[in-house]
Structures are given as structure tokens and as C-alpha cells.
């Protein structure tokens, strides 16, 4: 809540969305100038990333920020409220956007740019940023639809038969999921009478935990679980994510499912903590099955891209595992009790060697905060690493002319640099040290043990092992072995540009940028854990969020 004139830095809350929509519209207007497009798009994405970083710094320094649209008073107007969770997600999205834009510049042919890749990418990024920044639950629905519109445009780029097939399934399933979101929001409005998330958080706490609120929580779980591709509702993802261009797959895999995860965290954990505690067992089952489906699905695939589709699902399962942990002894305590948290941390530190190593990372918290912090860390890691894996797979497929593991090979000899980067990403996605996937898994496994769910920790470790096997197969077949006999020309992946057309050497630059994150977050995880910890505490105890909207009088 703001009084009087605003300083220019206050507009950072809205800047990511405004930048995306302005650049997207401008690029769509000059769609004929194909050669100019990337040279406007890349500065646009750099500007977006800069705004995201400034916003993150501002939130880190001053706490949650709010701007009311059109100067309407809360809770009646639409609020844009950004806390640490939203700022972290939006910054990571901007980071991935920069890398993907550079990659697209050097890998997309002119005809594909003609169809409007960059405008739709900006539109999708605008939707993603809006979803991360908004503080109004109906507005969240609107941003979901904006990002879906952008993603539809990207998905059918090229209009091949395979893409139309995949896009049909993707569009229907996502439309049903967002409609379910809307239905639930209607129910929520009928029960609570407000749509502002800070207001809901206050009012829902005073409601009785009866069937109506639990129904709403379950429906949100279904709607966002469908968006995030969690287990029984994951079938649309492997049906569609491998059909568009690699860079489009990379953006989808990195960002779209994570928007579902973000919405689930925001709605279920912040707005309905008692219902979340009731549903924790269900979520833990969903998480375990999602992880196993992802890992076993990846083992069964012969196409590199479809294998990566299942890696995305396994990652979602790991994040859900973090959301399944409840505070302490199965209690529904929404506020962090410092005393009990300290005793818990002290009592469980010598659990295992790994737990002891992780102990200084999240000092003195209950397992709800630990799980959430680990889930957010894993989600950020997953955004970057899944994008990087698809981009690297795109370069590899371009060089070998196919993305089928039967036809690929000899890339270690041909491109040692690419192979090394791929190895980094595969290590990271499997959760092996010293890369970014290791620490969140440590935190999650430790949290699972502390919350009295050792079997969930075991499933996380088993999934990590299975993903290591699948990763090893990718590396051994596509990179390590000698090139197989010339594959059948015009196989299932004949849609690629002929090898060596634009320079894939320059397309290595975004991979390097993304690898820097994997290494830095793997070697120096403290700064990131400190930030995700702040984010998790902000969700568990939303007093700061509410105060930012209602001007301190919560």
C-alpha cells in the first residue's frame, strides 16, 4: 500500500510484465523485418532480466512490495504483490529467457522467425512474469491464460503434422486445467468473498476447516497439479513437449510446469495451511508416484527429447515431495515456533552424514520450512537445468541430424566442449555433486527424515539413482560411443535444418551461461539457500505479504 507519489523504483513491480508486452507488441508489428527481430529481442530480454534482478534486490532489502493497479484501494483493486518467492522465480525466468533468446537467434531459420517466434516468446514471458508477480487470484488466472496463448503460438510454430497432433492434446488439457482453476476461484469467491490473496490469507484463517474449504483446496491441487504435470495428470506432457522446436521445448520444460508449482505453493501453502496439512499424505503419494513415473519413463525412451520430457516429470515429483512435508509432528502449525524448531534441528542433526552436511544450510527450522525451501531451490534449479538440457540436446541433434538415441553417437569426438557441458547438466539433473541439483535434494531428503517420512526420502534417492542411469545412457549412446552406421535418412526427426547451416558454435554461448548457474549454485549454495529460506518463511508466515498490501495494519 502506497501513499502519495511513487518513486521510480516502485514501478519495478510492474516492469517485467510491461517490458514483455511492449517488446512483444513491437516485434509483432515489425514481423516482416526478420533480420531486425533478434537484435531488438535480445536487448529486450536483457532489459527484462535487469529489471528482474533489481526487483529481487529491492525485495531482499525492503521486503515484499505492492502496487495497486489504477490506484484502487485493497482489497478491491488488483494488487501486484511481489515477495521473495515471486522475485526468485521471476528472476530465474528472466535468466532462462536471455539464454533462450540468444540460442534462438543462432538456431532458428528465417522462415521460423517469420511465424513470430520472438513476439510469442515475449508474450509467454509476460504471462509467466505476471503469474509470478500478481497478488490477486483471479488475475493469476488471467496471466495463466496469457501464457497459454503465447505457448499455443510457439507450439504450432511450423505447423507440422506432429506439432498439430501434440498441440491439440496440449491445448485441450491445459484449457480444462485452467477452467478448473476458474471454477475453483468461483467457489472460493462464494465462500470468502474476496479475491486479493493477502485478504484471503487473513479471512481463510478465520474460517472453519469444513468440507467447503477442503473441497476448494483439493480442486486447486487438481488444477495446479495438472498444470505442473503431477502423476495421474501428467500424460499430456510427454504427448506434446517433444514436438515443437528445441528452444520452445526448452522454454516450456523450464517455465510452464514451474508456474503450476509456484501457484500451488502460493495458494495451497500460503492461503490454506490447515487444508495443506490435511492433504499432506495425498501430496506425498502424488510426489512419490510422479518421481517414479518420471524416472521409469525416462529409462524406457529411445528418443532424447522424450527422455527429457520424463526428466521434467521426475523433477516435478521432487518438488512436490518438498511440498508434502508438514510442520514437525504432523501438526498443522502455520507459524514457526522458534523453540520447537531449534530442538528439532538439534535432535535430528546426526541423522545421516548428508543430513549433518546440510544442517548449517537451513539452521533451526521446522520441516515445513525446510521442505518448502528445498522445493523452491529445486524448482529454480529445475528451471535452469531443464532449459539447458533441451538446448544442449537441440545442438546435439542438429549436429548428428537426429534426436533418436539409436542414430546419435560420436559427439564426444566431434564436439568435446558440448559433451562436457552436457555432462555438467546431466550430473546436475541427476542430483550429483558438485552441481546445482545436489543441495536441494540433500535438503529435501533431510526434511523428509525430519518430518517422519523416511520412505519419501528413499524415493527421492531412488529416483536420483534411476535418473543417473538414464543420464548415463544418454551420455554413453549419444556422446561416448563412436558414430553408428549412417542412420536411415528422413527418419522420425527429418524436420531439422541441415547440419552446419547456421553456426551452432555461437549457440554454445547460452549453454555456457546456464552452466555457470549449475556450477555456482552447486559450489556456493549458501546465498541461494538463504534466499529460498526467506521465501519459504514468507509463505509459512505471510504477515509481511499481508502487511505490504494493507500498509502494515494486518
Amino acid at each position: 500500500m502506497m501513499h502519495g507519489a511513487l518513486a521510480p523504483s516502485d514501478y519495478l513491480v510492474i516492469a517485467p510484465v510491461a517490458i514483455c508486452l511492449l517488446f512483444g507488441a513491437a516485434l509483432l508489428m515489425m514481423r516482416k523485418r526478420i533480420d531486425w527481430q533478434p537484435w531488438l529481442a535480445i536487448p529486450g530480454f536483457l532489459l527484462l532480466f535487469a529489471a528482474d534482478v533489481l526487483l529481487l534486490l529491492k525485495v531482499a532489502a525492503e521486503g515484499p512490495q505492492t502496487m495497486m493497479m489504477g490506484n484502487w484501494k485493497p482489497p478491491f483493486g488488483i494488487a501486484f504483490t511481489v515477495d521473495m518467492l515471486g522475485a526468485l522465480f521471476v528472476t530465474t525466468a528472466g535468466f532462462v529467457g536471455v539464454a533462450s533468446a540468444i540460442y534462438a537467434t543462432f538456431s532458428m531459420s528465417r522462415t521460423e522467425r517469420r511465424y513470430g517466434f520472438f513476439p510469442f516468446m515475449f508474450l509467454m514471458m509476460g504471462g509467466v512474469s505476471g503469474a509470478f508477480l500478481t497478488g490477486d487470484i483471479f488475475n493469476l488466472y488471467v496471466w495463466f491464460e496469457v501464457l497459454l496463448m503465447g505457448s499455443f503460438g510457439l507450439l504450432i510454430l511450423g505447423s507440422e503434422r506432429e506439432q498439430l497432433d501434440g498441440a491439440t492434446k496440449y491445448c485441450f488439457l491445459n484449457l480444462v486445467a485452467t477452467t478448473l482453476f476458474l471454477i475453483t476461484t468461483g467457489y472460493l469467491y462464494g465462500v470468502v468473498g474476496t479475491l486479493n490473496m493477502a485478504d484471503i490469507a487473513q479471512k481463510a484463517a478465520r474460517l472453519e476447516n469444513d468440507g467447503a474449504v477442503l473441497t476448494i483446496a483439493v480442486l486447486y491441487l487438481v488444477a495446479f497439479g495438472m498444470k505442473a504435470a503431477a502423476f495421474p495428470l501428467n500424460f499430456w506432457l510427454p504427448a506434446s513437449y517433444h514436438t515443437p522446436r528445441f528452444v520452445v521445448s526448452a522454454l516450456f520444460a523450464g517455465l510452464l510446469t514451474k508456474v503450476g508449482v509456484y501457484a500451488l505453493i502460493r495458494v495451497l501453502l500460503m492461503l490454506f495451511p490447515p487444508q495443506h496439512a490435511d492433504l499432506a499424505t495425498l501430496i506425498s503419494w502424488v510426489a512419490a508416484l510422479t518421481m517414479l513415473v518420471g524416472a521409469f519413463g525416462a529409462l524406457a525412451q529411445s528418443d532424447m527429447r522424450r527422455l527429457l520430457n520424463y526428466f521434467v516429470i521426475a523433477g516435478i515429483g521432487t518438488i512436490f515431495a518438498g511440498l508434502a512435508l508438514t510442520g514437525g509432528e504432523g501438526g498443522a502449525s502455520a507459524t514457526v515456533s522458534a523453540a520447537s524448531a531449534a530442538t528439532q534441528a538439534g535432535g535430528t542433526a546426526p541423522m545421516t552424514g548428508m543430513a549433518a552436511a546440510a544442517a548449517p544450510l537451513v539452521p533451526g527450522s521446522d520441516s515445513l520450512v525446510i521442505g518448502l525451501s528445498g522445493a523452491v531451490f529445486y524448482a529454480l534449479h529445475s528451471i535452469v537445468i531443464m532449459t539447458a538440457l533441451y538446448l544442449a540436446a537441440g545442438t546435439a541433434a542438429r549436429i548428428s541430424g537426429s534426436s533418436s538415441l539409436r542414430a546419435m553417437g560420436g559427439l564426444w569426438r566431434a564436439r568435446p566442449g558440448l559433451a562436457a557441458l552436457m555432462l555438467v547438466f546431466l550430473f546436475a539433473v541427476s542430483g550429483l555433486p558438485p552441481f546445482s541439483g545436489f543441495w536441494p535434494k540433500v535438503i529435501l531428503v533431510r526434511g523428509a527424515f525430519q518430518a517422519g517420512m523416511p520412505w519419501l526420502g528413499a524415493v527421492i534417492l531412488l529416483t536420483g539413482f534411476l535418473m543417473t542411469v538414464a543420464s548415463a545412457r544418454v551420455f554413453a549412446l549419444a556422446f561416448w560411443r563412436n558414430a553408428p552406421e549412417p542412420a536411415v535418412a528422413g527418419g522420425p526427426n527429418a524436420g531439422f535444418a541441415p547440419a552446419g547451416e547456421p553456426s551452432p558454435m555461437l549457440a554454445m554461448l547460452p549453454l555456457l551461461i546456464l552452466a555457470v548457474f549449475a556450477v555456482v549454485a552447486g559450489v556456493l549454495p549458501q546465498w541461494l539457500v538463504a534466499l529460498t529460506d526467506v521465501a519459504a518463511r514468507g509463505i509459512v508466515d505471510p504477515a509481511g505479504y499481508v502487511g505490504s498490501v494493507f500498509g502494515g495494519v494486518s
Binding site: 521510480p8 510492474i14 508486452l21 509483432l28 495497486m68 493497479m69 489504477g70
Partner: protein, 139 residues
Amino acid sequence: MRTVIFRFTAPYLTALMVLFSIFVLLRGHNDPGGGFIGGLIAASALAIYGIACGVAAVRRALWFHPMAISASGLFLAVVAGIFSVFAGTGFMTGLWVFPKIFGTEVALSTPLIFDIGVYLVVVGGIASIALALEERESD
């Protein structure tokens, strides 16, 4: 559908509908109307013209690509929000000026700019979809 009578009357009907759509757009601030419904009327006008005289004639008459029209509308709508940065108020705040033009007070505002943006987005978006469907029927 391409009867002589329809082809003869369609341009007049289209012109009238576009004019009416602009009227609906401008009356939108204080009375029923506005950018969305105005845009729909204009888009249906273009669709009628396309049914009568062919899609190519519509594209020639529009001059710009429908998606470019849509994009210009989006641009305008965001710019209407950005004016509030200079006034130091919340994004998208309605700002009004009342200049005297030929002795008459005219109310100009950022909501009007936003509404024109919505109008253009709807015209461009719906027209491009309608034209895409009509194009496939004819060939």
C-alpha cells in the same frame, strides 16, 4: 454466398458497421459500449466483407496484417498504463485532461487510449481468425 445483391450491398454494410463500431467505442466510457464490443462489431464487418468479396479483398482493404493491428493495440494499451509513471501514481491509473477544442471541452483520458488499444486488439485478433477460417473454405 456471392450473389450480386450481397456483393453490391456488402461494402456499404461494412462501412456502416465500422462507423457504428467507432461510435460504440467512443460512447463506451459513460454508457454501454466500449473497446471490446466495438472491436467485435468491426471484426464482424470485415468478416461480412470477406464472405461477400473474398479474403484477398479484405486483406487489401486492411493494408496492415491483422496481427500487426492487434499488436499495435496491445502496445497502445500498455503505453496507456505507462502514463501513470509520469504522474507518480499506481500503474494504469486513469488520467484526464480537458482541453478546449474549438470552444468545446473535450474529455481525453488514458482509459480512452486503453480502450482504443482493446478495440485494435479485438479487431486484429478476431479478423485474423475469421479470415483464416474463410480462406480455407474458399479454396
